[in-house]
């Protein structure tokens, strides 16, 4: 047996290995430095992520490389999604720095958990086998459960973590069950092999469809779409805002990768079946997310419901790849790239919105209520304008990136013949516009409840401004990101 052993090519896995190695260094470094030198862990984490980005860029060769006995894939899609993941995690860390320090959460554990969650996402993104995917998912989820509860003294955060954990474990169970059925039907765990077997049409359809249902349920849970959305509002609300920001950003890329790897790479022959399921979930999410968001008084809950509706929109893109029974690669790539573009746009807006919540929060005060935004225009016209951009962008009003995200998804949906569903979706966006407008109303039309100046570090201010400007600039010139999304999928599918 030993002669069969081939040393696998570790080169494509370099970013993951680097991150893991650095996490050990940070673990020890955190012990060596005293409580006053917390910045060491934070800085090292940022350096780690930048290093990962550099390694990802260096190892990116535009080729699809399978390694580690076909468990791990390095393609352009993985590289792109990983880069976006690092970017959002770094932004979360920079945005959250002050918040963490003020609340005594600026501990080494936090940074380590963030890094492990990132590692989990990277593994998910690069999964070439059901096993790897599950491994990454669990690594990410466990780190996130712990992060939600990182503020030990907060009953609400603990409750949220509990809910997240129980429901998340259930979803993982469902996913695993689905995977076992797929394995039973096809005899394979490798994504490429599964689709090979399915194309030959020898697998038992009944078992496959059963497995598919469970897999779709697992994906839906991770994306947070109806009817598997229950954890989203509670977790978003209960978690410390920085953690909410993290959950609301980078994992969306991993969940997108998971959906793409499982549904498109592995189970594409079952596209007619899963498109139906996703379509129903998409419409329900867009509807429920927007309706429920109106009733919220807490901005984090509001953004949670808004996240549900946005993920519904993203799914609409995923369901538009195949029209009837004809598979046209061009249509499919357009549809999936619209979903990818939507994800990128959403994460950019979501980061900015949560950063605004952080900006208004101070030591001893969580700016969680909508009313905290009252009269922001008088306290700081610049940041009120930034929030205006984020909210209008989320509402899909043009000149902001959110419009083109909606536009590309709607174009994909109408191409696939879902005109009625497109009309339903835009009507719910109208409902959605109401609660985004309400924030603008609070900021611009109302008198401020307090006049204390906003306290934020220059880094925070610059990053938030850049974030807002990016949302506006990519709305004026949307082509760059769109082209990247399409090119990435074109080379990877």
């Amino acid at each position: 047996m030993l002669n069969n052993f081939v040393i696998p090519d570790f080169y494509p896995v370099a970013p993951e290995i680097f991150l893991l190695a650095m996490s050990f260094i940070i673990l020890f470094a955190d012990l060596l430095f005293s409580a006053t030198q917390r910045w060491v862990a934070s800085t090292l984490t940022t350096i780690t992520l930048l290093g990962c980005a550099a390694l990802t860029v260096i190892t990116a060769d535009g080729q699809t490389t399978l390694t580690l006995s076909n468990l791990f894939v390095d393609d352009l899609l993985a590289d792109f999604l990983k880069l976006m993941t690092y970017l959002s995690v770094v932004m979360v860390l920079i945005y959250g720095r002050q918040y963490l320090v003020e609340r005594g959460l600026d501990k080494g554990e936090f940074y380590l958990l963030v890094l492990y969650a990132t590692l989990g996402m990277m593994v998910m993104i690069s999964a070439a086998s059901l096993l790897t995917l599950y491994l990454g998912l669990e690594l990410m989820s466990l780190a996130l459960y712990a992060l939600v509860a990182i503020d030990r003294d907060s009953a609400r955060a603990t409750e949220a973590a509990m809910k997240y954990f129980v429901l998340g474990a259930l979803a993982s169970g469902l996913l695993l069950y689905g995977m076992s059925m797929i394995y039973g039907a096809t005899g394979n765990l490798d994504i490429a092999d599964i689709s090979q077997v399915l194309y030959q049409g020898q697998a038992d359809k009944t078992v496959l469809v059963f497995g598919l249902v469970f897999i779709v349920a697992g994906i839906a849970f991770k994306l947070g779409v109806v009817p598997f959305h229950m954890w989203i509002p509670d977790v978003y609300h209960g978690a410390p805002t920085v953690v909410t920001m993290l959950i609301g950003s980078a994992p969306k890329f991993a969940a997108f990768a998971m959906a793409l790897r499982l549904l498109v790479y592995a189970l594409f022959p079952l596209v007619a079946e899963w498109q139906q399921m996703l379509l129903i979930m998409a419409v329900l999410s867009i509807g429920l997310g927007n309706l429920a968001a109106i009733a919220q008084k807490n901005i984090k809950r509001m953004l949670a419901y808004s996240a549900i509706s946005h993920m519904g929109f993203m799914l609409l893109g995923l369901t538009s790849g195949v029209i009837g029974h004809e598979i046209d690669p061009f249509t499919a790539i357009n549809a999936y790239s619209s979903a990818l573009y939507y994800t990128v746009a959403y994460v950019l807006m979501s980061l900015g919105s949560f950063a605004m919540v952080l900006l208004l929060s101070r030591a001893g005060h969580e700016a969680e209520q909508l009313d905290d935004f009252k009269g922001l225009n008088q306290r700081s016209p610049w940041f009120a304008a930034m929030m205006l951009i984020f909210m209008l962008s989320m509402a899909g009003i043009p000149f902001f990136i959110g419009f083109f995200a909606k536009f590309s998804v709607l174009t994909a949906a109408i191409t696939a013949g879902h005109v009625t569903i497109a009309v339903v979706a835009v009507m719910f966006s109208l409902v959605g516009a109401f609660y985004y407008l309400r924030i603008i109303k609070l900021m611009y039309f109302d008198a401020p409840a307090e006049t204390a100046p906003l306290i934020a570090t220059p880094t925070f201010r610059i990053l938030l401004s850049l974030n807002g400007i990016a949302v506006a600039a990519f709305g004026l010139f949307p082509d760059a990101i769109m082209a990247i999304c399409t090119a990435v999928l074109l080379h990877s599918l």
Partner: protein, 491 residues
């Protein structure tokens, strides 16, 4: 044509708003003068559009074409014909009036106020000159943002309700239009060029659906009865400048949409649904005319009068003859001047008295004779008195309507009586009579700035009423071309 005058018309005000916003509201003196300079520059760059316009040509002129979103084959495609060009001038001209009108009156956040209007002006020029459907949509919807803020920040007591109602109502329409635009984009094989859409052969069912999607959007914007209810609220709550821009320009966007999209893209559906459109228009003309008669708030009265006048415009479009369409276009421009002037007049009084109730006034002529003279002229114009611009358009539309069907023309002519009734009755109650309110006795007449604004508008109203030829001349070729398009069935 080397200079990109259309791009300048769009981007000079928008980019000019940036220094205005950056100056901040503390430096009131600088803010005003910079804003005025930007508005004047914005108007100046639109003048070559008129002087360099080739009136013999029906096609698009001053065309600019740049790749914008190659992924979707969207283009930054601008161009004007005889129909859209006058509106760009009108819009840029009105912006100067608005800046002047907010000179001393706006005390809160003046920089943001001026900035919002300048951005609004650029966006609206974009709507009138965009020839790419999605670019049009982008401008169309983006223009909601500044108006939402203008109503909400500087408006009256019920401004929040009015602002949100305005935004959601308009968004409702434009989202349906977005679906229609995407559908057209896909059906035409990935072209977003509006002129390509005009050539698109469509069956009756798609035409009707497209027409309805556009109708919802444009009817809200015009506004047509029965989706007009946002307008009185928005007008009453908006600051004077907001009302002026709403009435003079924003309402025209809907009517312009009919001409640019509905009629040429879905000609058969337009003919098929013309009776409905005529019925809705006449309802607006007559019923809303009566509603205007009973208003006690001056701004509301003028708002209803605007709806009634816009009913005239849509009526003119759907009788499909050159008199009707040209009359409607003249009516749109004339109404741009007159409604702006009416709202400015009410603003002049409101700034002094802080009341818009007709009952609070009476005998204004005794203390403000100069103002009363201007107000008289504009009221007469609003009632459609010959020799004012109000007459020309209405007369042409009524003439066209009589040609189309005597009874339709007859019903439309009722507006002359109703318009005179509500406008002049209001004028009488406000301006004439004995002074009953002691505050009226303390009023001071208009100053130089107000005189200048009203005199400029008065000159426009009279010039257009006495010699409308320069206005109609530019439209002829384009209107003929449009009618040819609408007459040719696509089935």
């Amino acid at each position: 044509m080397n200079a990109n005058f259309l791009s300048l018309a769009i981007w000079v005000p928008i980019l000019g708003a940036i220094p205005v916003l950056l100056l901040g509201s503390e430096r009131r003196f600088l803010v005003r003068w910079v804003a005025l300079a930007v508005a004047l520059a914005g108007f100046a760059v639109t003048l070559p559009l008129y002087t360099g316009f080739d009136t013999t040509q029906a096609g698009m002129q001053f065309v600019e074409q740049l790749r914008w979103v190659p992924r979707f084959n969207l283009e930054y495609l601008l161009g004007v014909d005889g129909i859209s060009m006058p509106f760009i001038l009108l819009n840029s001209f009105i912006t100067i009036m608005v800046v002047l009108a907010g000179w001393d009156v706006i005390e809160k956040k003046q920089a943001q106020y001026m900035g919002a209007f300048l951005i609004m002006s650029g966006l609206m020029n974009g709507i009138f000159s965009a020839l790419d459907g999605i670019l049009f949509y982008v401008f169309f919807e983006a223009s909601l943002i500044p108006m939402y803020l203008i109503i909400g920040v500087w408006g009256g007591p019920n401004r929040v309700y009015a602002a949100i109602k305005f935004f959601l109502y308009t968004l409702l329409g434009s989202l349906l239009m977005l679906v229609a635009l995407i559908w057209l984009f896909l059906t035409s094989g990935g072209s977003a060029n509006i002129l390509d859409w005009h050539q698109l052969q469509l069956g009756m069912t798609p035409q009707i659906l497209i027409f309805i999607a556009f109708l919802v959007s444009f009817a809200v914007k015009v506004p047509m009865w029965p989706v007009h209810t946002w307008l009185p609220d928005a007008h009453v709550e908006a600051p004077t400048g907001g009302s002026v821009v709403l009435a003079a320009i924003a309402l025209k966007l809907g009517a312009y949409g009919f001409i640019r999209f509905s009629l040429p893209i879905a000609p058969d559906a337009s003919h098929y649904l013309a009776p409905l459109m005529i019925a809705l228009s006449l309802t607006a003309v007559i019923y809303i005319g009566f509603v205007a008669l009973v208003q006690t708030d001056m701004k509301k009265l003028v708002a209803y009068s605007s709806i009634s006048h816009m009913g005239f415009v849509t009526l003119g479009f759907f009788i499909f003859n050159p008199l009707g369409i040209e009359g409607s276009l003249v009516q749109m421009i004339s109404h741009g001047f007159i409604s702006a002037a009416m709202f400015l007049c009410i603003g002049v009084m409101y700034d002094r008295m802080h009341s818009r109730q007709i009952a609070d006034y009476g005998g204004v002529v005794n203390t403000m004779p100069k103002f009363a003279a201007f107000f008289m002229l504009f009221s007469m114009a609003n009632a459609g008195l010959p020799a004012t611009s109000g007459f020309v358009g209405e007369f042409m539309v009524i003439l066209g309507a009589v040609k189309f069907n005597f009874w339709v023309g007859m019903a439309a002519a009722v507006t002359l009586i109703l318009g005179a009734a509500y406008t002049l009755w209001m004028y009488k109650r406000v301006v004439f009579g004995a002074i009953t309110n002691p505050h009226v006795a303390d009023l001071s007449d208009i100053g130089l700035r107000e005189f200048l604004i009203l005199a400029l508008l008065a000159a426009c109203v009279l010039a257009m009423g006495l010699y409308p030829y320069p206005f109609t001349e530019v439209m002829h070729a384009s209107v003929d071309n449009l009618l040819k398009h609408v007459a040719a069935s696509k089935l």
